[in-house]
Every structure is written in structure tokens, then in C-alpha cells.
Symmetry: C2
Subunit: 345 residues, 2 copies
DNA sequence: ATGAAAGCGCTAACAT
DNA sequence: ATGTTAGCGCTTTCAT
């Protein structure tokens, strides 16, 4: 007896109750022009009464679109990615789309599996920021082959041609070095990330360009790669500060690395910014709270998420696939703080 | 001519290529016992060859289950929630389930809409942490009425009886006060959160219990509610420190509030921990990086996410609905740091 | 062990 | 403007 009442109500239930055709119910609910206002009102009221909810799974199967976008990121619990996702979510919400989020924890295997999961789930678009471990690109090519729109952001693989959203990493790093030079620092070291990651290479190149333009002489050990965390920063900075040609400033590719550098500087009995200047990357919440506050390159991560999602909604959705690839660049903003305010005397 | 090759391959394509029935293909792919090993091998090879991917949308419609869990949180870009989600995601991944994440940004309207979205998407379970604005509970009752498993975590609504995962907030606050007393502080103020939120009430009660047990006399203005951010903490602490009976310690319900308090203390020319002790809540990354480092109550947010997801997989999935509600309590851990290390002389 | 056929809930041709 | 019908891709009885 409850068997019928317990089922989730469908358009058939509404149709039956109203003695009309299911297709009319569907049209009414979708506000089609080929159904009378009278029926629309009737259907909406009955839907309300029966507590009917649209089953988007069924509709997706029929329509071949899921109104869902898949996002693959290394970690969701990092300031950069959670802000970016937050921005994407906002845009998706405004377009009545959903986000399915997968995290790879920097594992190539998990990244491949995530792509599979998203394909299996019929997402309308895949947004991805690669893991550090990732070497190959067959999983990305697979997505393209299936004509599922693919957008890379931040940690992009240049060898796969598709839509991309990145920061102006090179320019930002370049200007960060200029800022250090303007403040009077003479010998600047660069502690960067993984070399097989385009974004980190760009930062390195920006640094190198500034070095070159200003005729700086830098020892070979001033340019360090594969830095990831505070510990790395602390160790490398300690080594450099104890070398025969210690740097008087550091540009790092994350605020955590910068924090490690700061600790090393203090441990050596030096002062920031008077003896040593430091600039980080990412504008993590803590960067404004520590003493001295850390000058850092804000990546405008939320804006990046918004831009990324917007590519789908304005250029890809409902469009014929085109061969052109959109590349958006989100400018970084240098946040000037105390770690570089050298007293010039 | 490409019309056929361009379509996403289905089990029919495999069946046709192998000259067997689609149902056999389905069984083979699902490793059913009623299909020969020979066919299984044949099917798998052909699936690989055709680049076939399971369409979980279609399977879900047929099976009535989506292998998807919906999560509703106020903000994903906060340490607590992104860690919790990260934990849930890990558990879901291990069970081949997906997460659909919605954020409410503390809006009741968005929260109701998120519930609707998730129902519409046929999620197998809804996990929710309420927004501050949320007053009603009809949207949660609706979920229960539909027999969709509902799990509340952290910011739970006690009036809705369902599965819950919370911290031992009362005990944690109680012990935090005890710690302050042990360190020699005498008059402790409490800057708490929204009063219509159970978790914040619990923290308040833990504080009040400790106050009572220790026979402390506290002015009425020592217990403040509706604190949310650094700014709130700064302002209230400034007022209290300038009052005729200034407190010598603060327990706050977030690290951000605590940071505001610290700023107020310094602005007043007082020292931490010598003049004033401070304890926060959440163990935000910055809490260990500031000077002095902040003693704080770690909520073990990642563990909370894991516990929450586990409720679904061990108690709810594949089970007949039962009327009992599971409540799990994740213990907090006090992280002792410099903001409470008073030199006792 | 294999296959035929029905149907999950919805939408979109195509009649009428 | 309304209804009939087929079908999205899969699973699952039920026959054979």
C-alpha cells in the first residue's frame, strides 16, 4: 500500500493524476512554448503537491549532457586550489551546473583514475591542474579524443594543446626581482619548484631575465629547483647563507618555502629586511600574519577559478568544437610587505 | 562515415563486434558468474580496443543508485572544511564513489538550493554542515522524508535527528580553560561564535563549566558571542582590556579571532604570554607560524571527514533504513604553544 | 552459459 | 496545444 507512495514521484505520476500525457508534463516543467498556461499551472501545482523533483540523471542520459563539470587538482586543502575551486563553483552555480571534484595528491596514477572516473560520469567538461608526479599525457589526449572539452589551469602541460588559464608567472617573477633590486638588494637567489612543470619554469625564466638584464653575477648554486615546503626552504637557505658568497635576498616559488628561508635567516642571527630580503608566492593567509610580514606574489586564485569556468560557459558549452585553443592569463599582483622594506641609508 | 566511429562506444558496439548479446557484454564487464571466462576475455579485449568506458549515468538510472555523495559546506576555502572534505574524498575514492560539493557561503537560501540540487542529482547520501544564517530545518526533513541518508557534521542542527559527527567541543573548551588556569591566569574571557549554532554553544558551556568549577568570578561582559573574524576579536579584546576589570586570558572559538585578540594585546603594550594568555580553535596553519605561536584546539578536521564518510559506507550503504541515529564524536587535541607558556615565578 | 526483452525517468520527434 | 512513441545505455529478470 505504501509501495506506490514511497517511490520517488515521476512525471508519470503527475500525468496520471492530471490525466494528461507525460510529454505534456515534461514540456510544462521545462516551460516549453508548446503547452498552454493552464496546463503549466496545473502541472506545477501537482508537482509541488506530490513533492516531485526533476531527475537530472534520467534527463542527462536522454539529452546526452550532464550539466556537470569535473575538476582534478592535486590537493583541495591548499589556499590556491580551494580558492580556485571556490571561484569555479560560484560560476557553475550561476549556470545551474555542478562540480565533481577529484584530488590526485600529486600521484600520476590517481590523476589517470580521476580522468577515467569523470569520463565514466559523463561530465560535460574536465578542468585539470596536473600533479607533480605526472609525466605522460595520454590521459589528457584521451579526453580530447572523446571531444570532452578540456581546460588546464595553473599547472598546465604545454605539450597538450587545449584551453589554458595561467598566471603571468614569468612577468611576476621578473617584477619581484626588480622590486628586490629597487630596494637595494644585490645578490638574489631563486628557490623554485619542479622543473618539469611549466609554471615553475616560467618563474625561473622571469628571474633569469631580470638577472641578465641587470648584469647580475650569480653563483651557479643561486638557482635551486624542486623546492616544495618550509623544510626545503630552510635547508637550502641555510646552506646558501653559509656559503662563501651568501645571497642578500631570496625569491621563492611558495610562501611556505619563503617561511623556511626566513627561519634560516633568523637562525643565522640576521635580520629581515635589513640584512636579507624575501619574497614568496601565493599570498597564503599566514603571509600577512607573520613578523615581519611577507612580501608575496598573489596569484589571484579565485579569479583564476572564475576565468577557467567562464571559458566553458562562454566558449565551449553549446558550441561546435573548434580547433582554436583559448589561453587566458591572469595577472599576478605583488603584495608589498615588510620582508622587503629595506631601510636605504 | 565518421558518424558511427565518433559516438561514444556502448555495450552494443562490443556486442555487435563480437556477435553476442548486449546482456552478455554487461555481465562480462561486471564479472558475473553466469558468463564464461572465454567471453569475459573476449569482451574485455574488445572493450579496450574500442576504448569503451562504462556509462555510470545509464547504470545509475537503471540501478537506482549513483555512487555519488553530496557534501554541503559553508566555505570550501577554509582550513577546517577543506581538510574535512579531503578526508571524505579519500574514503569515497577507496569505495569508488564520487563527491559533489556545494558551498553555501553562509546563506540559508543557497543551502536550500544545494539540497535541491543534490536530490535532483540522485546522490546516495547527503553530508551537511550548516550555514550560520540557517534557521529552519524543513530542507533537512525533506531529505529524510525521501529516505536519502543524511549525515550532519560539525555545525549540526540538534532538532533534526539523523547521523552526526561532531567534536567534543564542550570538553575541549573545558580543558582549554583548565590549561589557562594551570598556567596561572586568573580571569579568562570567552569570545565565542553564533549562539544558534550547537557547536558554539557547547564550547561556551565547557568554558562556563570550568569557570563554575573553579569558583571564578567573571564580569558579565567576559562572555561574548557572534564573533567571526580577526576584526571582531581585535575590537572586543580592546574593549575588554580597557575595562575596569581587564581579563588576563582569552579563549576564542577560532584562531582568527585569537589573532585579533593578540593584536589588541600588543597594541595595548602588553606581552603574550607574560601578561595575557590566548588560546584559539582550529589549528589553522598560521597558528604555528606567528610569534608567539598560538596555543590552539585542533579539531582533527581530516579525521572528522573520514569518520563522516565512513558512517555512510559502514552503516548506511546497502542497508535497510533503520531508525537509530549514529553519533560519532571526534576528540579535539589541544596544541600547546607559546601564547600560554606563562613564566611562573 | 547465453540471449531476448523490458524498463529506469526523461525528452524529442512526430503525429494529430 | 496535446498525445504517441521511441530511445538515451545500462541491468536484470526470465527463457532457452
Amino acid at each position: 500500500m505504501t509501495s506506490k507512495k514511497d517511490r520517488r514521484p515521476t512525471i508519470y505520476d503527475i500525468a496520471q493524476a492530471l490525466n494528461i500525457a507525460p510529454s505534456s508534463v515534461s514540456k510544462a516543467l521545462n516551460d516549453s512554448s508548446s503547452v498552454s498556461d493552464k496546463v503549466k499551472v496545473l502541472v506545477r501545482n501537482k508537482a509541488q503537491e506530490l513533492n516531485y523533483r526533476h531527475n537530472s540523471q534520467a534527463a542527462s542520459l536522454r539529452k546526452g549532457t550532464s550539466r556537470t563539470i569535473g575538476v582534478i587538482v592535486p590537493k583541495i586543502n591548499s589556499a590556491f586550489f580551494s580558492n580556485a575551486i571556490s571561484g569555479m563553483e560560484e560560476v557553475c552555480f550561476n549556470h545551474s551546473h555542478q562540480l565533481i571534484i577529484c584530488q590526485t595528491e600529486e600521484s600520476y596514477a590517481k590523476e589517470k583514475q580521476a580522468v577515467d572516473t569523470l569520463i565514466t560520469n559523463n561530465v560535460d567538461c574536465i578542468i585539470i591542474s596536473q600533479s607533480i608526479e605526472t609525466k605522460g599525457d595520454s590521459h589528457l589526449r584521451e579526453v580530447i579524443k572523446r571531444h570532452t572539452p578540456l581546460i588546464q589551469f595553473d599547472r598546465v602541460n604545454q605539450s597538450v594543446s587545449c584551453h589554458q588559464v595561467v598566471n603571468d608567472n614569468k612577468t611576476a617573477a621578473y617584477h619581484a626581482v626588480k622590486e628586490l633590486l629597487n630596494q637595494g638588494y644585490k645578490s638574489i637567489a631563486f628557490l623554485g619548484g619542479s622543473l618539469n612543470m611549466h609554471v615553475y619554469n616560467e618563474r625561473r625564466e622571469g628571474y633569469l631575465q631580470a638577472v641578465k638584464e641587470n648584469g647580475m653575477m650569480i653563483p651557479y648554486d643561486y638557482v635551486v629547483a624542486d623546492m616544495h615546503n618550509e623544510q626545503n626552504g630552510y635547508e637550502v637557505a641555510t646552506t646558501l647563507l653559509n656559503s662563501s658568497l651568501p645571497p642578500d635576498a631570496f625569491l621563492t616559488s611558495s610562501d611556505y618555502i619563503a617561511f623556511g628561508v626566513m627561519k634560516a635567516v633568523f637562525a643565522k642571527g640576521l635580520s629581515i629586511p635589513d640584512d636579507v630580503g624575501v619574497i614568496g608566492f601565493a599570498n597564503e593567509p599566514f603571509s600577512s600574519m607573520i613578523v615581519p610580514s611577507l612580501t608575496t606574489v598573489d596569484q589571484n586564485s579565485r579569479a583564476m577559478g572564475i576565468e577557467t569556468a567562464n571559458i566553458y560557459f562562454t566558449n565551449l558549452m553549446d558550441k561546435q568544437q573548434s580547433s582554436i585553443s583559448i589561453t587566458k592569463t591572469v595577472p599576478c599582483t605583488i603584495i608589498y610587505r615588510d620582508s622587503t622594506r629595506k631601510r636605504i641609508d
